[in-house]
Symmetry: C2
DNA sequence: CATAAGCGATACTCGTCAGTATCGGAACCC
DNA sequence: GGGTTCCGATACTGACGAGTATCGCTTATG
């Protein structure tokens, strides 16, 4: 009203960025345990020791909160340029595994499993999940496969798109349908027992 | 009270068994479209052109209705004895495909996808689904793989349990995560492009 | 110190849904 | 025809959850 206000001039107590982190982490935890439909905003608030007002001051709805929390998961995505050509497909795979957070692969699978029916009913959520969470991993694997084809390790007529889906598909099925834990060991086992034979390499 | 009533003597109008079929089919349809959490009993009733009282006269709760509808899906399960040894792994696979209903593979995948988060939160439902719907298929595939090992088509040191999961895992991922249709063609493509190379056979 | 905003906590509104009750009518048995 | 049960339809009850409002307190600016 009066005159210019060049920069946003915050008045009063400022938002505590630590609350964001606590709320996002609580959202991911509850999401993994109960799924999207089973998760309530009150669960997240009490898990984060926050008031509901604090949540709704930062995210306008439950859906936005979940999308935001998932977006934070993708910040550590690995791309093809993070995996220097190490001379062989199996060595590239090992490098990729090291470069990936290493950490929360089981958590991600459980979150994805809890989101599944919502993917079919909510196209916006589905688009975000597929672009942010799914596509980067698949693209990376296809890149490694393409390198292996160029090296001559893999026959050039193989369907790289299908091959790139083997490992994520089988980890997801193990978690979502069989209810078995997804660990780094089970991941490695899938690579050795299924992926490498499927592309025509022996470990 | 009075005296014996040796057999159940039905008095009054009898239940219409056709209503059972309509309600079960409506349940499966709604389940595939919306998932367990998104499905309401009113949706099923109106889809089946039935009153809610008719549903609750036959099933005591929404959970029992869903379990019953799924049980009806398993009546056409194929077992190893339905697939005579045809001399080669690929021929056995083709026989199995013919013997299976051929029909509603996409519907089953969508139903399973809509049930996913409930599998993690409801152990009873999970046990029924895994025993009735999942295990029979996996067991059949493992049986065919074992035959192939005995024939010498497949190396004896391969992990048959893991190999048996390739096709269902990748069909489920395609449906539940990627949101792409699961058809007989995509099923065959998985067999030719992934399963056969993984076991060391070329189509 | 006065004003302004964030904080956790709690109570409230409002729509939705599982399950129940009731209705008029139809099918079945004696 | 009388009694009983099924049928579809509709209204009702009670619980639960998303989103809003408010309270007393704290943290910042000036």
């Amino acid at each position: 009203m009066t005159v210019e206000q060049t920069a946003a001039r915050p008045v009063g107590r400022r938002r505590d960025p630590e609350r964001d982190a606590a709320i996002v982490q609580a959202t991911l935890d509850v999401l993994a345990e109960t799924g999207y439909e089973g998760m309530t905003v009150d669960m997240v608030a009490s898990r984060a020791k926050a008031g509901k007002a604090t949540l709704y001051r930062r995210w306008p709805s439950k859906a936005h909160l979940v999308v935001g929390a998932i977006a934070s998961l993708t910040e550590t995505n690995v791309t093809l340029s993070d995996v220097p050509d190490s001379g062989s497909f199996t060595a590239d795979l090992a490098t990729m595994k090291k470069a990936s957070g290493h950490s929360n692969i089981g958590l991600k699978m459980q979150i994805l499993a809890g989101l599944t029916p919502s993917l079919a009913s909510d196209p916006e959520l589905a688009a975000i999940i597929r672009e942010q969470l799914i596509a980067p991993r698949t693209t990376l694997m296809r890149g490694l496969l393409l390198r292996a084809v160029e090296r001559g390790e893999i026959a050039p007529d193989r369907d790289l798109d299908a091959l790139a889906l083997i490992v994520p598909s089988m980890m997801f099925y193990r978690c979502a349908v069989l209810g078995q834990p997804v660990t780094l060991e089970s991941h490695q086992s899938l690579i050795d027992e299924i992926l490498l034979p499927a592309v025509g390499l022996r470990p």
